[in-house]
């Protein structure tokens, strides 16, 4: 019985890089900066591969949207153990979460996965929207911020997900097909073996365009300016409680 898992992944500025804002305030400097797979997406890929190793999933398909450089990231997931990679070539268009969700919906219609696992958010825009929007467009159940995913091998048509929420842990059961977004503590992603890294370089990727998928990627959202937070200024020492209260009132903090 076939069980396909689709894992959307995003290529972002590496989490360890000290970011700088471009001089023209149009965004963060990405020229010559180290890029990597979004850490939450690595966790998603790892979870999908573990489902395959448990004998529940039979195929893991990784997909990424963006310029040609995305293909490196897709190959990274193949090196970890994904079976197939799809690249949606959006060129240099800025793809907002809604556009990504629309593209993913078309891919879901094509690929017919039983499960879509995403990272909960990308570390560059911190939107935390794509998974939820995709669930809305597909009218599928969703479980976000997953810290545990359980599928019963003998009846793989539903999934139990433990979510990390403000109040603690919530466990949901969903009928498949469904959407899961991953949080930090779900798993620790594996390192890719050197042999697999070499093999993934030769893997054939399927390349599509938004036009071929019939999706208009314009979401009527324009970034006007990106700025650094204001530089930290020095503080002021005060010597009595009254002076503290006066200062707090002066700076409109109370």
């Amino acid at each position: 019985m076939s069980f396909k898992v689709l894992v959307p992944i995003k290529r972002v500025v590496d989490y360890a890089v000290k970011i700088r804002v471009k001089g023209d305030k149009s965004g963060v400097e990405t020229n010559g900066v180290k890029m990597s797979m979004n850490p939450f997406d690595e966790i998603a890929v790892e979870e999908a591969i573990r489902l395959k190793e448990k004998g529940i999933a039979t195929e893991v398909v990784a997909v990424s949207m963006g310029p040609k450089t995305c293909q490196e990231t897709i190959r990274g997931s193949i090196a970890m153990g994904a079976d197939k990679g799809i690249h949606v070539d959006g060129g240099t268009t800025d793809l907002q979460p809604l556009a990504v969700a629309k593209l993913l919906k078309k891919l879901v219609d094509k690929e017919k996965p039983n499960l879509v696992i995403l990272g909960k958010q990308a570390i560059d825009d911190d939107s935390n929207q794509t998974g939820q929007m995709l669930a809305g467009l597909l009218n599928w159940p969703q479980a976000t911020f997953a810290s545990k995913v359980d599928i019963d091998k003998s009846s793989p048509n539903s999934v139990k997900v433990t979510r990390e929420i403000d109040g603690g842990l919530e466990t949901l059961s969903m009928k498949l097909p469904a959407i899961i977004t991953c949080d930090l503590r779900l798993n620790e992603p594996r390192y890719a073996k050197l042999q697999n890294i070499m093999k993934s370089k030769k893997a054939e990727l399927q390349v599509l365009t938004p036009q071929e998928l019939g999706v208009d990627t314009n979401t009527n959202l324009k970034t006007i300016s990106v700025e650094e937070p204001p530089k930290r200024t020095g503080g002021v020492k005060v010597d009595s409680i009254d002076a503290v209260i006066t200062s707090l009132k002066k700076f409109a903090l109370i």
Partner: protein
């Protein structure tokens, strides 16, 4: 002063955000974005291998290296993890689970691992030298029997050439192997054996024939063979994450099936293995020097004296520039020598390897030494990692062919008649 507080706050917040227990975020991002960049001139495939090794090294080796050095721990679990990724059989054929990389690509991996822990990277290099030797010269039975466990580093290997009376003059070794039916009986002792006492597989160069190199053979001895014993664990200046012991053979009976290659081939097997080993030992020095350079650069941008950071003084700037220049030269030379070893049309790669090993190991030690100096008093403390890099890279100038032997090889080639 405020700068330093904010800087350390920023560093700490990176530590808290650090996702996979990576407490050395700084080291991870500066292996590549400092001059000389070790990824310059590499193909995309090579860059991918190098990145994978750097990531593994900074997450799995760097956090523990100081502890392993101090407590003299042989980190077999970490090395097994490395082997899972393919680091245990770097140039072994993929039929036996090896990664089948070229000498050039292997040197990139060792250099990357050494940027976190020179001593452990050097042992991994020695282990690979032994596995590679069995892969190249062993017969099918031997390869099937020994390689799978060596490739996963479930078994570790030791290379036994040096003796108390035979170091640079390796061909004068006197450990004897006398044929007795379908066994050899080995008698003698080996000195300074890396992994000795802990490794499961010992490749012993011993004398089966007459004097000189042509009388030497390579025989594999397994650890619990009766007649094989070990000296005390040596206390060393560095390389403390690998045990070093004498290997003692007293009427040790070993099946003839354990002969690697043919009788009399041992010396050429040993020297060929050493060529690859020399590349990797030098690569380990490069990795260590890269880290030392990064530490020095970060320190002089941080440390203030005479109301300014040390990096404002031209003498310091010029010292760093010289260190970077020497490192770039050594790296370029070493990588070319590695590529020559891979090139079957070159018939004297050993001379180039000798020149590269000599220059690289000496230069990288000097870089580590300069880096320690730039740290001032702090460089002398074990709280700072630079002293460990100095101690570990010191021995690379001595073993796997001392500086003198490298010069002998080079001058011999220069002076010979065609």
């Amino acid at each position: 002063m405020l700068n330093r507080i904010i800087k350390s706050t920023v560093n700490l917040s990176y530590k808290n955000k650090s996702l996979f227990q990576n407490s050395l975020v700084l080291q991870k991002r500066t292996f590549f974005n400092i001059v000389p960049d070790p990824s310059i001139g590499l193909t995309e495939d090579q860059k991918a291998l190098q990145s994978a090794a750097v990531e593994f090294a900074s997450e799995q080796l760097a956090p523990n290296a100081a502890k392993w050095d101090k407590e003299e721990i042989f980190p077999r679990d970490a090395m097994k993890k490395a082997a899972e990724l393919g680091f245990g059989g770097l140039y072994v054929h993929s039929d036996y689970g090896g990664t089948q990389l070229s000498r050039m690509d292997t040197s990139l991996i060792i250099e990357a691992l050494a940027s976190a822990d020179v001593s452990t990277a050097a042992y991994i290099s020695i282990h690979n030298m032994c596995a590679g030797l069995i892969d190249k010269y062993g017969n099918a039975d031997q390869k099937k029997k020994y390689l799978p466990k060596l490739v996963t580093m479930e078994h570790c290997a030791s290379y036994c050439l040096t003796e108390p009376g035979a170091g640079s003059d390796a061909a004068s070794l006197s450990t004897k192997a006398v044929r007795d039916g379908d066994h050899y009986i080995l008698n003698g002792s080996k000195a300074f054996i890396s992994g000795g006492g802990d490794a499961e597989i010992y490749l012993i160069m011993c004398r089966t024939g007459k004097e000189g190199p042509k009388g030497i053979s390579c025989i594999l001895v397994e650890k619990d063979t009766p007649g094989l014993s070990f000296g005390k664990k040596e206390e060393k200046l560095g390389w403390n994450t690998q045990p070093t012991r004498a290997v003692i053979l007293e009427d040790c009976r070993v099946p003839v099936a354990n002969l690697i290659g043919v009788e009399g081939q041992g010396f050429s097997i040993a020297m060929n293995a050493l060529n690859g080993g020399r590349i990797n030992i030098a690569a380990a020095s490069l990795g260590g020097a890269q880290s030392a350079l990064i530490f020095a650069r970060d320190h002089v941008k941080d440390r203030k004296q005479f109301q300014q950071t040390l990096s404002n003084f031209q003498a310091i700037q010029f010292k760093l520039a010289d260190m970077a220049t020497q490192l770039y030269a050594a790296r370029s030379m070493l990588r070319q020598a590695a590529a020559l070893l891979d090139d079957p049309t070159v018939n004297n790669p050993h001379t180039y390897v000798a020149m590269a090993k000599l220059f690289t190991c000496d230069t990288c030690f000097k870089i580590c030494d300069e880096s320690l100096q730039l740290h001032g008093g702090y460089g002398y403390l074990k709280d700072y990692p630079v002293e460990r890099f100095l101690r570990d890279t010191r021995v690379h100038r001595i073993l796997e062919g001392s500086d003198a032997v490298m010069r002998i090889l080079t001058s011999k080639d220069l002076l010979k008649d065609q």
